[in-house]
């Protein structure tokens, strides 16, 4: 069957028309001779910002402040204005070669054989089954993604009284969406001990939205046979459990990269991020295949993902111009309480990572972090940073920390205390 399918042969295929993919396509379309083709499975390009109606988008990449949908529109316009082709409702269903994929769309089943491929497939929130929350299986349990789809794209109704799990940036985004839909958030539930861990949002959250936050807590049971009636909340310090009445439960954060194409292609994953293992050029383990955006670092803000796109565009152009990857590589990894670092590889001779930052994720709040790097049993760098390492958001560390890494040495382990 595949033999009779038409084959498209762009110079570059970008999978995913979110901030990273669109930004990469816009930059590449001006630099390469052939076509830059962007495929997205959604009915409309733009990615997650399409249904995130609050403001704050575009700060770092466009130097302006936009709403999510406005930001998404602008990125789509920029890519198409630069000459990229953006196709929606086009799902990449698998690989047909090293840089060749199979696609299903209403216009038909086809293949795309490109000289370079950028996978910018983003991330999703873990839904209820993956969080193993026991209890009944009623309607009224959402992730933020589904909630915002329902409210902002489909103008559907949710309930009147919500509990939101998580207290990070996306959680507050969910609270705003619930408010827009006429639903009051009665409680936010965080497993972390201190609300200061997310001070940037907790303070305005408490002031403006007046939502109480139950810290050091988790949902232990969902109650309600057809419609959600309540959740059981456990105080993890004391083990005490209580019932909180609600008809809507939103499970926020706990991001997992949409890494299926990397896995089905046998590309290496980073055990920490569960996304692709990339180097600072965002190469994804196969010549000519790159990754960018929140599939690499689940998740940073949309503008950081967009700047990944800008960075990867230059690396793709270099690959198309025939520049090979340096052979030698040094693995980066982390020690607790850090969970992951991205990129996970450095190659001597490569450019610094996007924005010259290492992105890390911590499971504990460290207010005045001292970051260390060890290699082959010795400390190669130690630096105190003036910003906190806080759970629920990416902790950014200057790339210069690794300037002393030995190019022929063993893995570099990053720590924080």
């Amino acid at each position: 069957m595949t033999g009779i399918e038409p084959v498209h042969t762009p110079d570059v295929l970008v999978v995913g028309a979110g901030p990273a993919g669109l930004t990469a396509a816009a930059r590449l379309a001006r630099r390469v001779a052939g076509e830059v083709l962007v495929l997205d499975r959604e009915p409309e390009a733009g990615g997650i910002p399409r249904h995130s109606h609050h403001t704050g988008y575009g700060l770092r990449d466009l130097r302006r402040v936009l709403s999510g949908p406005g930001y998404a529109r602008r990125l789509v316009q920029a890519a198409t204005a630069a000459g990229a082709t953006v196709r929606t409702e086009a799902t990449v269903t698998g690989w047909a070669g090293d840089r060749e994929v199979e696609v299903t769309s209403p216009q038909g089943r086809f293949r795309v054989a490109a000289r370079a491929v950028v996978l910018a497939t983003g991330a999703r929130e873990r839904p209820r089954p993956a969080r193993l929350i026991p209890g009944d299986r009623p309607a009224g349990v959402y992730t933020t993604g589904q909630l915002q789809n329902v409210v902002h794209l489909h103008h559907g109704a949710v309930g009147r009284r919500a509990v939101v799990v998580g207290a990070e940036a996306v959680s507050w985004s969910a609270v705003l969406t619930l408010r827009a839909a006429g639903c009051t958030t009665t409680l936010m539930v965080s497993r972390f001990p201190r609300p200061e861990a997310f001070a940037a949002f907790t303070v305005p959250g408490r002031a403006v939205l007046r939502v109480p936050v139950a810290t050091r807590s988790r949902v232990t049971r969902i109650i309600g046979r057809s419609r959600l009636e309540a959740v059981e909340i456990e105080d993890t310090a004391t083990g005490a459990r209580r019932r909180v009445a609600c008809d809507t439960l939103v499970l926020t954060g706990d991001w997992i990269p949409d890494h299926e194409l990397f896995r089905s292609g046998g590309l290496p994953l980073d055990p920490g991020t569960r996304g692709p293992l990339v180097d600072t050029a965002l190469r994804a383990g196969r010549p000519g295949v790159f990754a960018a955006g929140n599939v690499v670092h689940p998740v940073d803000t949309a503008d950081v993902a967009a700047l990944d796109g800008r960075h990867v565009a230059d690396q793709v152009a270099a690959w198309l111009a025939g520049r090979p990857a340096p052979e030698r590589e040094v693995r980066l990894d982390v020690a607790a309480p850090l969970r992951w670092v991205a990129p996970g590889l450095l190659r001597p001779g490569d450019p610094p990572p996007p924005r010259a930052r290492l992105l890390l994720w911590t499971d504990e709040l460290v207010r005045l972090p001292r970051v260390t790097a060890h290699q082959d049993g010795r400390v190669i760098a130690e630096r105190r940073l003036p910003w906190p390492a806080a759970p629920g958001r990416v902790f950014r560390v200057p790339w210069s920390l690794l300037s002393g890494a030995h190019p022929a040495g063993g893995p570099v382990t990053l720590g924080v205390r």
């Binding site: 069957m1 009779i4 399918e5 499975r41 959604e42 009915p43 409309e44 733009g46 399409r50 249904h51 949908p69 998404a72 529109r73 409702e89 799902t91 269903t93 199979e102 299903t104 769309s105 209403p106 216009q107 038909g108 089943r109 999703r124 929130e125 873990r126 839904p127 209820r128 089954p129 993956a130 193993l132 026991p134 209890g135 009944d136 299986r137 309607a139 959402y142 992730t143 993604g145 589904q146 789809n149 329902v150 794209l153 489909h154 103008h155 559907g156 232990t220 049971r221 969902i222 046979r225 997992i256 299926e260 896995r263």
Partner: protein, 476 residues
């Protein structure tokens, strides 16, 4: 059409079958192949919405049944019947084979007896294998396996499609499918029995009780006191598709006095299933999952296939098996009441359903119900191809070219197209709610659980599959 609003107030059916699970649907299909008027009376708003929707979805050879029981005979016969029926209707089946794994000396010692038992059940293809062969067959198994017994014909099947195919064919043959008709009282008359239901009376000369978890309650309405159904909860975990590479066949524990234990099996949708637990309950509606059950399953999974736990869990659910005392099916006719009870059909009922229906046919004929085979029966329905091993529409270039709706993927994780969702609403038994749509199409059954597609799927549910502007044009 199905009739959700009224009972057949004046009509007297020849037979009313209560319960539209696998067994009731198979019986209605069998009987409506004869010169009879048949009603299929179901309390819920859909067929196959109770016990039959949440089992381990295994097509059993019956190798481990108790020899000489009715269950043994009907499972062995049902295996072949359902395999033929699946081929005729397109029910997804994969003959993966099974491997019983012994983890203790006691279990290892039990394997030859199990092989002998299989032979007494008429199944002679089991083979004893040593630990090397066990690990060759399933390299992902945890350490400590001492040996195994292969059952090369055990298969996996789609229980939802099986139930739906049987009920659809019953409907096509003229069975009146009465959904949302909960039986509340029974009046046995001289000529016919009246089933009072939540939507009015249903009259029939004969009543077949295939009410599953409610079979004992209904049996008592006929004045009997011979059976007590104990709902036995089985919790299951489903792992995401990358896990399928680790488990390409059914991995069974050696059965003990406490039941069949926890198995690991691939699913026809390309996932891996772990379960079930076995816990007797009193509440016949409690299909919730429990903290203890999930913890127990994760512990077992860690021992059986350690790599499994690194994969995402895409579903946690619980089913209730209609367990009764005594180790066998209980199928008995009471001719003076023109009444027949089908009880104690455990998880093997998926396999045995069609054979149970044929057995019921025999008992009814003996009891005096005239069964004259009809000619010119409609062809069996062709069911949607839900199985990963089959021709999924999203990868069928010719089908997409003929109808672009099959190229419009709505549910990304399970790759369900708008065309399939639309088709589900054009069948003789369309979905009634999201659960029904999920069982007919797999929409929203995947790893994201609606993060991406939930709103679009709900929209299609509301419009009965009509592809509207809001489905395709996202932002206002």
């Amino acid at each position: 059409m199905t009739d959700r609003t009224t009972g057949a107030a004046d009509a007297v059916h020849d037979v009313a079958v209560v319960g539209a699970g696998i067994v009731g649907a198979a019986i209605a299909r069998e009987l409506s192949g004869h010169e009879l008027s048949v009603a299929l009376v179901e309390a819920r708003d859909d067929v196959g919405d109770g016990t039959s929707k949440a089992n381990t979805a295994i097509l059993h050879t019956g190798f481990d049944a108790t020899p000489g029981t009715l269950e043994s005979a009907l499972v062995a016969a049902g295996y072949h019947r359902l395999r033929e029926y699946a081929a005729a209707t397109g029910i997804p089946v994969e003959r993966t084979g099974a491997l019983l794994v012994a983890w203790t000396a006691e279990e290892l010692g039990a394997l030859p007896g199990l092989r002998a038992k299989a032979e007494r059940n008429g199944y002679d293809r089991c083979r004893l294998v040593g630990p090397d062969e066990v690990y060759r067959q399933v390299p992902s198994l945890g350490p400590g396996a001492l040996g195994g017994l292969t059952v090369p014909d055990e298969s996996i099947i789609c229980t939802w499609t099986t139930n739906l195919a049987l009920a659809t064919e019953a409907r096509l043959r003229g069975t009146r499918v009465l959904l949302g008709h909960r039986v509340t009282e029974v009046a046995v008359g001289a000529e016919h029995t009246t089933l009072h239901t939540s939507r009015g009376p249903v009259r029939a000369r004969w009543v077949v009780n295939a009410a599953g978890l409610g079979a004992d309650w209904l049996d008592r309405r006929f004045g009997h006191d011979r059976v007590t159904v104990t709902p036995r909860r089985g919790e299951l975990l489903v792992f995401d598709k990358p896990a399928r590479a680790m488990v390409d066949r059914i991995v069974l524990p050696v059965p003990s006095a406490r039941g069949k234990g926890v198995l690991v099996a691939p699913t026809v949708y390309g996932n891996v299933m772990l379960g079930p637990t076995a816990e007797d309950l009193t509440d016949r509606t409690d299909t919730g999952t429990s903290e203890a059950g999930l913890a127990f399953l994760l512990g077992r999974g860690e021992q059986l296939v350690p790599g499994l736990l690194a994969e995402e869990v895409t579903a946690c659910y619980a089913g209730l098996r209609a367990a009764i005392d005594g180790g066998d099916y209980l199928i008995e006719a009471t001719p003076r009441q023109r009444y027949l009870l089908v009880a104690g059909i455990r998880s093997t009922g998926l396999t045995a359903g069609i054979a149970i229906a044929e057995h019921v046919h025999g008992l009814l004929a003996e009891a005096g119900l005239p069964l004259v085979a009809r000619t010119g029966l409609p062809a069996p329905p062709r069911m949607p191809p839900l199985g990963e091993a089959g021709p999924r529409p999203y990868r069928d270039a010719a089908r997409i070219a003929a109808d672009p709706a099959y190229g419009r993927i709505v549910c990304f994780c399970e790759r369900v197209t708008a065309g399939e969702i639309r088709d589900a609403f054009r069948t003789p038994l369309p979905p009634h709610d999201l659960g029904g749509l999920r069982r007919r199409t797999r929409a929203m059954n995947g790893r994201c659980q609606g993060f991406f597609c939930g709103a679009a799927v709900h929209r299609l549910l509301a419009t009965h599959g009509r592809i509207t502007e809001a489905t395709t044009e996202a932002t206002a």
